[in-house]
């Protein structure tokens, strides 16, 4: 292994610019003559727009233009990239999502007008002078309410607010399994709504060159090429060749920036219309009402078990809230990325999951770190704990009894997925050891002596990432491929520039991909430069989400490097006067097998660009540059075991996370430092949901009650323990480099792990479930409610 190759904890090359304040985020870019856009947003959750008067605003000082729905009526709406079908085979309901609200507003924050002015202040002042007459309508924000007869209807042609009635699995086989069950464990739960809150608010800056008709859009996106198609071609009718999308440094995404938004389209369109650059930067309070949100499920789940605690069948019924409009990937999240994950790591033979995807008067939901998989893990792993309690079985034992054994891989689940590798017994054993599981009883006694309730929780999980095999994804409704691209350009002096379609917004691609290429080419990683985030530079790629960058983007790079080596072998054959078949490539040298004759990688690169007389230009092109598009053969399946330990003060409900252990199988580890950092961040993002985050709308009027960091409880440094991270790898067989993905594992496992610990701590009160977040108020209430009940018994 090269010292800075695969598996080395190489420090990140991108750090220096961030540490010195020289990162270049969209907000930092200033173009000459740029104008500033501000959006006037609906204060109502649901209302008809009776009249809009923009005359006074348009006449305000320094205002250049004011646009409303009428101005953009000729444009298309915000497109959806994933159209699912219901269990009857019919397509989901997909009402137009106009760029500016037309006729009706459907959530607080729905944009109604765009003001463009010489300064943000001038635009804001003008926005206050726009007179809009609304006729307020009854609003519905809760998914269970939206499904009831008589609920306010968001769309005239979407009866019952039902976007799609979706299902996966075999209903009849599952019913048969339940019919022969010894016991059925049941659970009703809520998966809270979350606000992704990447630290960098969204921003977009568009420029237009009238002499050529070229547009450039700098935007905070995770997927610049996809954004170019959706914004350029589908939203605005700008051909791809005339729109360059640049995603420079992006300050976190977590899914919220894989969504394509109206603001990005509108600044682009306005730049063309006004002939000047137009810039918009979201404020945080604006982000709370306009960034796609996450989760928001109400679920009833049942697990059928036999006498020995073996799972016979699983039946899940979920109402999923997708908000006021269908977002870019919104419909895919609570369906394809949820139902199929319910098999978990268990051999449950029959599973049936139905999901009613509902419109409500809330901000649209879409992918948020984990996207569907934390929801599935939460349902399954909470339910397994309930079953263990019902049957008086040990929580580790019941999981072990139902594990897919390591020797059963590859394994076909009853709900679509085909797992390649895994060893859940191994990750479990390691987690039990690291968490000192067997010594818990003593720690509980010690806590009790201090007046504290101590609980321990465990989760064994699997997830699907490396999205995605195009053929499978298209069968499930994807309106495009899901491969990834790479262009590897060997420069004449032998150093290497790699252009990837993946996008780095914190994951460390610039470092890790260079390690990968350095290893494969046998050159130092610092002779490899990684370029991303610019449609004018990288080949068409799908971007970064779903823990796909290494598994799909890295595989594309490996494939392109393979082509480079193949061509290098041809060149070397000629230079060394040997048959191409006899050339071996090893540690940066092309050599003739069985001899000491060899040429370095740099010599071959030099020859490709300065062909010596022996170079057969007639049959072998000069140059050394290759492009690859890699379409994965299947998903990858990271998995593992997490254990959390908590203490609760019963007099206040205050909770302390005492310890957290994460043992994950993420396949081949390219850079352990970065993998560990991803897992820390992922776990804490999940703990955020379990401990405090909760996006709440006022039931009566649909107002967002948690619209700032003062109301929405983000995890802070002093809320958290140090997380013990270990990896236990079985390399994936679904891509050439064996990686599985590490970006989401933490978030997928940690909410269920923490809540299992909370419920365990409260077990003596007879409490079998507590909904997230485990805030002091909620825990105190749970205890207060349970005490009289227990007394009565």
């Amino acid at each position: 292994m090269a010292q800075d190759g695969i598996g080395a904890a190489v420090r990140r090359r991108e750090d220096r610019r961030f540490l010195t304040g020289r990162g270049k985020y969209v907000h930092d870019i200033v173009l000459p003559r740029q104008l500033h856009a501000v959006f006037l947003r609906s204060p109502h959750a649901h209302a008809e727009i009776v009249a809009i008067d923009t005359a006074a605003a348009a006449a305000s000082p320094d205002v250049v233009a004011v646009f409303t729905a009428d101005d953009v009526a000729g444009l298309n709406g915000v497109p959806c990239a994933w159209g699912i079908a219901g269990k009857d085979g019919r397509p989901m309901k997909e009402p137009k999502h106009p760029l500016l609200a037309s006729g009706k507003v459907r959530h607080v924050g729905d944009p109604v007008a765009m003001i463009v002015a010489e300064s943000v202040a001038a635009a804001k002042n003008a926005a206050e002078r726009i007179a809009i007459e609304y006729r307020a309508l009854p609003a519905v924000t809760e998914v269970a309410e939206a499904a009831k007869p008589g609920a306010p209807q968001l769309y005239a042609d979407v009866p019952g607010n039902l976007c799609c009635d979706w299902a996966v699995g075999d209903a009849a086989a599952t019913a048969a399994a339940f019919a022969k069950a010894h016991h059925v464990a049941k659970l009703d739960l809520v998966n809270t709504r979350l606000v992704p809150n990447a630290m960098e608010p969204r921003a977009a800056l568009a420029d237009y060159e009238p002499a050529t008709g070229d547009f450039t859009l700098y935007t905070t996106t995770q997927l610049p090429h996809v954004a170019r198609v959706l914004i350029g071609v589908l939203m605005l009718g700008i051909p791809e060749r005339k729109l360059r999308v640049v995603a420079p440094d992006v300050g976190g995404g977590f899914g919220s920036k894989q969504v394509v938004y109206c603001e990005e389209g509108l600044v682009t369109w306005a730049a063309g219309r006004l002939g000047r650059p137009v810039k918009w930067v979201a404020e945080r309070s604006e982000a709370f009402v306009s960034d796609a949100q996450g989760r928001d499920h109400v679920t009833h789940a049942e697990l059928a078990l036999d006498r020995d605690g073996k799972f016979l069948g699983l039946r899940v019924s979920t109402l999923a809230n997708i908000g006021g409009y269908v977002s870019t990937f919104g419909p895919n999240i609570p369906t394809n990325l949820y139902g199929p994950l319910l098999a978990g790591v268990y051999t449950t033979p029959a599973i049936y999951c139905e999901v009613k995807v509902m419109f409500t008067n809330t901000v649209p939901t879409d992918a948020y770190r984990g996207a569907g998989r934390p929801e599935a893990t939460y349902v399954l792993e909470r339910l397994v704990d309930v079953a263990a309690r019902d049957l008086d079985l040990d929580r580790v034992d019941i999981r072990r009894r139902n594990f897919i054994p390591a020797n059963a891989f590859p394994y076909q689940t009853p709900v679509m997925l085909h797992y390649d590798t895994g060893d859940h017994e191994a990750t479990l054993a390691k987690a039990l050891e690291l968490s000192r599981w067997s010594g818990f009883a003593e720690r509980r006694r010690a806590a009790a002596a201090r007046g504290r309730l101590r609980g321990i929780g465990i989760v064994t999980y699997i997830e699907a990432c490396g999205l995605a095999p195009s053929r499978i994804a298209q069968q499930l409704g994807a309106r495009g491929g899901l491969f990834e691209s790479a262009n590897v350009r060997v420069n004449p002096s032998g150093d290497v520039t790699v252009f990837t379609g993946a996008h780095n917004h914190g994951q460390g691609h610039e470092t890790v991909f260079a390690q990968l290429v350095g290893e494969l080419l046998g050159v130092p990683s610092d002779s490899v430069e990684i370029v991303h985030g610019d449609t004018a530079r990288s080949p068409f790629g799908l971007g970064t989400y779903g823990s796909r960058s290494a598994a799909v983007g890295g595989a594309a790079i490996a494939k392109a490097v393979g082509k480079i080596i193949d061509k290098g072998r041809k060149i070397a054959g000629h230079l060394l006067e040997a048959s191409e078949q006899d050339i071996e490539f090893k540690e940066g040298y092309f050599g003739v097998a069985g001899t000491d004759r060899r040429k370095s990688f740099a010599e071959i690169a030099g020859a490709a660009y300065t062909p010596p007389p022996s170079y057969p230009l007639e049959t072998l092109e000069p140059g050394l540059e290759e492009t690859a598009f890699y379409d994965p053969v299947n998903f990858t399946f990271p998995g593992g075991c997490h254990v959390a330990e908590v203490e609760i003060d019963p007099t206040t409900g205050a909770l302390e996370v005492v310890s957290y252990v994460a043992v994950d199988d993420v396949g081949t580890v390219l850079n352990p430092m970065i993998v560990e950092g991803q897992i820390h961040g992922g776990v804490v993002q999940g703990l955020g949901q379990a401990l405090g985050e909760n996006c709440v709308y006022d039931r009566a009027n649909g107002q967002l009650l948690t619209g700032s960091f003062m109301d929405y409880c983000m995890p802070r440094a002093d809320d958290l323990p140090n997380i013990v991270v270990a990896t236990q790898s079985t390399p994936s067989r679904h891509n050439p480099i064996g990686v599985k993905g590490c970006g989401e594992v933490g978030t997928i496992a940690s909410p269920a792990t923490l809540m299992n610990a909370v419920v365990d701590a409260l077990a003596e009160y007879g409490i079998v479930h507590v909904d997230m977040p485990a805030s002091p108020q909620r825990l105190w209430q749970a205890i207060q409610t349970a005490v009289p009940r227990r007394a009565a018994q």
Binding site: R11, E14, R17, L19, G21, D28, V250, F709, A717
Partner: protein, 155 residues
């Protein structure tokens, strides 16, 4: 209103609008875009700079209030080709991912190291609760701050 401010060692005379926030003036007038804005309620700490050697959220001050003050932003923490020991520690311990909260974190951490040179982990975590990070889970930041503070103690 006219102000005279020292920013990263350079004295600047400027006329500012009374309503302009210090962070806006730094970013838009001086082009010091390393100081970030990530909220509008003074909760996130991304805009933390040093005012008279102490960490301050620059969204909580008007530019006029900085009249006569000495300011240091992330760009001025070390020389153009050097890293401050705290910056170096963040690099070494992977205390940053997307980088957006990083300038504020580092500026806050430098003040911590000065105020409580041998801060415990609990003290570091308590100090940093005014700086939000969405990527790292704070663990490597805490580790970096400990290491950075130790480097400063020993230098």
């Amino acid at each position: 209103m006219d102000i005279t401010v020292t920013v990263n060692g350079r004295q600047i005379k400027a006329t500012v609008e009374p309503v302009t926030l210090l962070v806006t003036w730094l970013r838009e007038t001086l082009g010091l875009t390393g100081t970030h804005i990530a909220c509008d309620t003074s909760q996130c700490g991304a805009c933390t700079i040093h005012v008279g050697g102490r960490s301050v959220k620059s969204c909580t001050m008007l530019a006029v209030e900085a009249d006569g003050a000495e300011l240091v932003t992330i760009e001025g923490l070390a020389g153009p080709d050097a890293l401050h020991p705290m910056q170096q520690a963040f690099h070494e311990h992977h205390g940053l991912q997307c980088g957006f909260c990083t300038p504020g974190m580092v500026m806050s951490a430098v003040d911590l190291a000065k105020t409580i040179p041998d801060a415990s982990e609990a003290e570091i975590r308590a100090w940093l609760k005014g700086n939000l990070c969405r990527c790292t889970g704070y663990q490597n930041i805490v580790k970096a701050v400990r290491a950075g503070a130790a480097a400063l103690r020993n230098s």
